[in-house]
Symmetry: C2
Subunit: 217 residues, 2 copies
């Protein structure tokens, strides 16, 4: 199957996890085959959108005959890189860092947190679900020795850029960034932002809009 | 200033928190005035994109003369509903719920967590930064008595839909949803998803792509 992935737009990529989520549900429910129409009804994208999206990856289904659910699920999983395992570290072992270390779902998906790092002596030496919080001074050695692929950045805003640069020096090429800042890093470093405040502010925006509309009525 | 906000696209709305973030930095740095060119250089959107975005809200600046930073910051803040205060509750007091309760930044922005709710008797009665974890049975009364505007949904996937429906029955019209599921709720309920796995899978997608490209070289 020929892939034309280099042309895949950000919008398509951001829809893939949603396909993955719904297909997993279908697999869980024991559904073997699904039409693009039925998939569309469930997932809330138009059937034409779904076909277009899948065509970015060579298309998966037989028109009229529908999609083989398990095959499609496995393909999307592979495209998302979820058939790999990734050693990760969490940098910043405050509440958010600890919550992520505690969140066992990511481990099930292949993202294994090998250690947390912090500068706070009160945290260093503690463990979260058996994962140790280490002194940030040991990070370089740890990254080298443990084939760490992803750093999850949970430091305060003020330290994030500098810590990220240090991570890149240590050879980290993929950062999941929770710090509320846009990192400025070399182009070959992949940064995916999880800016929680941005999401919350979209919510308050919509609330303000609704309020205004209600007043206008 | 006339607003044409009803036509504002989702893409524009999702850029607003980023404007807010950068403008706040400018205010913090004591910068009084900025050209759209310089703003563009800092924020990473083109100057034309910035002008288009601002035009959705009537436009803010004087061409050639640049934007008054503080005025612009305050306008964006107001548009985002961040000059209001919102009483919130967290439903699901597991690690993620607790982490959010612990995250004091949201309070500074006007989002005050008044209580957490859970069904786990081991959690009920505990406090996170002085915020009590209450029995979910008391949620309806609490929502009514405390002018709760936002529910932050941190339950497991399995319970999320049902809990969300209960929240809507209690009069909640705005949900910040961390459960990895798309909620099916009446149209007048605002749901903003913070699907962390989706973000992580976009990261692993890009890693898989980079891996493939490197192999092809």
């Amino acid at each position: 199957m020929q892939r034309r992935t280099s042309k895949v737009s950000d919008a398509v990529i951001r829809r893939l996890p949603r396909y993955h989520r719904y297909l997993e549900e279908l697999v869980r429910d024991g559904i073997k085959r699904i039409s693009s129409k039925e998939l569309s009804r469930r997932i809330g994208f138009t059937a034409s959108q779904i076909r277009q999206d899948f065509n970015c990856f060579g298309g998966f289904g037989q028109q009229g005959y529908g999609y083989n659910v398990e095959l499609l699920y496995n393909e999307i999983k592979k495209i998302l890189g979820l058939n790999e395992r990734y050693n990760t570290i969490i940098v910043g072992a405050g509440n958010l860092g600890q919550a992520i270390a505690n969140y066992t779902n990511f481990r099930k998906r292949g993202f294994e947190v090998k250690a947390l790092f912090d500068i706070n002596p009160k945290l260093i030496g503690l463990s979260i679900r058996g994962i140790e919080i280490l002194d940030i001074d040991k990070m370089g050695e740890f990254v080298r020795d443990n084939d760490v692929k992803i750093a999850i950045l949970c430091t305060p805003r003020e330290n994030a850029q500098q810590v990220a640069e240090t991570l890149v020096e240590y050879g980290i090429k993929s950062i999941w960034n929770f710090a509320p800042i846009d990192l400025d890093l070399p182009n070959d470093v992949i940064v995916e932002n999880a800016h929680l405040s941005d999401s919350l502010y979209v919510l308050s925006y919509r609330m303000a809009e609704r309020e205004k509309e209600n007043k206008e009525k």
